[in-house]
């Protein structure tokens, strides 16, 4: 993977510090999580809001999409609280 390689290509033996590596790993993980979440939201909101694709997005479809995105994020919060903060 490109971004894992050392930035100083002139000295290939120079080692990337563990801290730098960990920082890059965190950034890449965050990106991967965000992309996966986005892909899920696209699928869910397409199913809910674009029921009959027309020649352009209608106003109703656009506002449905905004609400759908907000509600999906909210639902994710409800699920994680139910899983991890349940006093049972």
């Amino acid at each position: 993977m490109d971004s894992f390689s050392s930035p100083s290509s002139s000295s290939p033996s120079s080692q990337m510090s563990t801290e730098d590596f960990m920082d890059q790993l965190k950034v890449q993980l965050a990106q991967a999580y965000a992309e996966e979440f986005l892909e899920t939201v696209r699928g869910k909101c397409f199913d809910k809001c674009i029921t009959k694709p027309g020649s352009s997005l209608s106003g109703g479809e656009s506002s449905c999409i905004s609400r759908c995105v907000d509600r999906y994020i909210e639902a994710t919060g409800i699920i994680s609280r139910a899983l991890f903060n349940s006093q049972r």
Binding site: F21, R67, A75, T76, I79
Partner: protein, 78 residues
Amino acid sequence: MDASALSNPQLQQMINQEKERAMATEMIAKLTSACWDKCITGTPGSKFSSSESSCLSNCAQRYMDMSIMIVKRFQSMH
């Protein structure tokens, strides 16, 4: 960075933390998807109704109950 850096305890600790986080994230994502399909039957509104939010929360907790039951069922098979 060479391969020996992978035995760096600091890195090992981070990898273990990230593994746990990935498992939790995957679980939340999977359950949100499944419970969204079960509980949000109409078009999403500007606010969840109380029945929608309690359905989501019940859905996640019942999934956990079910998981435990399934494990017990398998354990009792041998």
